[in-house]
Symmetry: C2
């Protein structure tokens, strides 16, 4: 389980069994999707292998796509939890948000998490419904973050804050794509480096130039 929960008293058996079921569905789902393809793996097959009913599957996950995107969504959920307690130190909003996101990234302590994120990224690249679900989840995260920020801080207007969040999420998303596409081992630190690089580019983006290409054959 990749959620970096603080140590807490042992949950009741019922809760522990629910978490075991969730983890089994998630691990098996990611494995089967990666081996056979997302569309080519039915939920009946997944539930047979985990030995739970499909009814239970849908009590655990909202949709098939949620399994595929769960590793990344765990990160965003932690981001929101960190945002609920983080304190800015005079930096800009985008820098503050970026810092909170990196803190959440540090909180992804399960050594298997990067591998799972890579599987998720591949599934999103190859399956439109997975990609769409991921994008929608981030849009909802933006909404939740705005509400959290409004409760806790003095901020500019909603449009400015929403755009700051959109820019942060777009930068991380592109970083994640670049990380997944890069050769070599895929590590959490590597993802952080790509995220930092994307963050660094942001001030340049608004001033980026565009010129007609020199056309071959044009003298």
């Amino acid at each position: 389980m990749s959620t970096p929960a603080a140590p807490e008293p042992r949950p009741p058996l019922r809760e522990r069994k629910k978490q075991r079921t969730r983890e089994a569905l998630l691990a098996t789902g990611l494995r089967l999707f990666a081996e056979r393809g997302f569309a080519e793996t039915t939920l009946d097959e997944l539930c047979d292998e985990v030995e739970v009913s499909k009814r239970t599957f849908f009590r655990t996950f909202a949709s098939k796509e949620e399994v595929a995107m769960a590793p990344l969504h765990d990160l965003w959920e932690l981001f929101l939890r960190e945002l609920a307690t983080a304190t800015p130190a005079g930096e800009t909003l985008v820098e503050f948000l970026h810092g909170v996101l990196l803190t959440a990234l540090e909180g992804m302590t399960d050594p298997d998490w990067p591998r799972r994120v890579l599987v998720s990224q591949r599934l999103a690249e190859r399956n439109p419904s997975v990609a769409a679900y991921g994008l929608y989840f981030c849009d909802r995260t933006t909404r939740a973050a705005l509400a959290l920020l409004r409760e806790r801080f003095t901020l500019p207007d909603d449009l400015t804050v929403l755009l700051a969040l959109d820019i942060l999420i777009a930068a991380f998303h592109r970083a994640q794509e670049a990380w997944a596409a890069a050769p070599g081992p895929h590590t959490r630190d590597g993802l952080r480096e790509h995220a930092d690089a994307a963050r660094t580019v942001l001030p340049v983006v608004l001033d980026a130039p565009v010129r007609a290409a020199a056309r071959v054959g044009d003298s």
Copy 2:
């Protein structure tokens, strides 16, 4: 039909009939979705009313969601067509893209288009699968725009260009939401004004401040 195609020779009967079918499915779909709800309207009902088979529906649209989002997607498709011919005049990439988008917006000449866009926006707000589809469509538009830009212009690295496109699309998306939420008549010009306002905010966003709120009861 909201596509602002240049005047062209009369298409063959087959093509005209296809377009009539598409328009009938679109107009009827939007109407039924708005009246009854997206999920509450089945494709069987829609096809019965238009008197085509469901098989034909799926030859015309890739999904039910595509009907709901078609008005906005028409705009993005025109954006890509404009991008294939537009010439920058020394402005930044984001300004150039914004200009092309406004040109595409001017090309949405059907007087019914704003009303349809409003219906689409409402459907997206109320139906996750519609919103997700719209977001995914825009992500694919970003990809297509990058490829177009690369063919035609000298540009910075892919990350910078992708982020410029992401920022443009996010700004327009938020403008559209604000436009839909605003009281009074919803016009294409109103949407342009909101788009301009969002564009204007962009340079400010990266420097936007965040401070702890003064807490009531704290002396």
